[in-house]
Symmetry: C2
Subunit: 201 residues, 2 copies
DNA sequence: GCCCGCCCGGGACAAATGTCACCGGTCCAG
DNA sequence: CTGGACCGGTGACATTTGTCCCGGGCGGGC
């Protein structure tokens, strides 16, 4: 019996996947969670063989949870299941020790076969996505530039960002400028967009 | 036998829901589509009793498709199924003649009961969402303000927007200013964010 | 007919933004 | 120990953005 943990915030998706995977005769869903910070505790309780993790989760990110999980429960394979096939996500997933990376666009049948292949020790990654991740290169943004950029989402002013990050407005503008330069964009919004696109956020 | 059409762009979600609904003994999925502009043609072929439509779809929006569907196939009930419970979406769905409005956050079990209730002539709407839709009021943005705002997403400059919408830069700034005023925000990005939030986009 | 809302534009002005040069400090690698 | 990267900050500058004037035109409702 293959024991599965399923982490996904959208209730309907979670329920549907759980039902679906439950139909496989040798699968057993031992835990379902909707928040990232419950992944590790529930995993320690239930000792799954494979953890299916979404990335965008309330609380802890699925990527961070994956890293923690590999620490706490090395026998548990991690399969990332996400809406967005962003190069930086894939890179971070691999660095976090994930065994596979699936996008939700694909057919459902992929899911069960991916679980089995991961359990067999294989790595499951979309070839096109792997190429994109390599061609995009590593994250060029420094931690501070990331902080400032993430604080700049949905139109915060320089003063807002400065307050959020506890920096001088002048410094914030410098970081924004350098981030804009590194992303080869023309303003902060294009920069956050580009950084998001690449999974650098 | 209740015949269903399922429109959803995310392959995994679509497949999972199809399998799930297929388990109900009296349900039959007669069509699955991943693009909005295929909804009406497929519906005309297969004559479903209920159409389950996502809103954000490539091609035609699920809301526009709903309106068209009500025209072409009045006997078919429309059930909107969306990630975002935005007030303006609900309003537009009702205006388009939808019989129900579900958010994907809820449990899967809701889905089948919603389909049955819709078929029984009932309307299925989250009460909290209905209240939000009423309290938010109707869309205050004029068509041009909407155009300019949607062209302003992801950080386009005034010149970019002007080119996209075929307007003078000065006019664009005027529309942006009035949109910012109506949304009670401080800059264009906050305005698009607020407009999005309310489903006014 | 007249008002009103929407459309399209211009000009002027203050504020915000993006860029650049420059400062000092820490810390790490060669 | 020296160069280089990152951090935090300042000041000056040009550009962009947001606001408030103004103008004219079109169409619908009372």
């Amino acid at each position: 019996m293959i024991k599965l943990l399923l982490a996904e915030d959208q209730g309907m998706m979670r329920g549907a996947l759980a039902l679906l995977l439950g139909l496989e005769p040798d699968f057993e869903i031992v835990a379902q969670v909707g928040e990232g910070d419950k992944i590790v505790p529930r995993a320690l309780e239930t000792r799954p063989d494979v953890a299916l993790l979404d990335i965008e989760l309330p609380g802890l990110s699925g990527l961070d949870a994956a890293a923690a999980l590999r620490q706490e429960l090395p026998g548990c394979h991690v399969l990332i299941l996400t809406t967005f096939g962003r190069p930086g996500y894939l890179r971070r997933a691999m660095e976090a020790g994930a065994s596979g990376f699936l996008v939700k666009d694909g057919p459902v049948e992929e899911l069960a076969v991916a679980v089995r292949r991961v359990l067999a020790g294989e790595r499951v990654i979309d070839p096109g996505l792997a190429a994109a991740a390599l061609s995009a290169g590593p994250n060029p943004l420094t931690p501070r530039e990331r902080d400032v950029l993430t604080a700049a989402v949905d139109g915060a002013t320089v003063a807002d960002i400065a307050a959020k990050v506890h920096l001088s407005p002048a410094t914030v503008r410098n970081y924004l400028s350098s981030a804009i330069g590194k992303t080869q964009t023309r303003n902060r919004m294009e920069a956050v967009r580009a950084a998001r696109q690449n999974g650098w956020l």
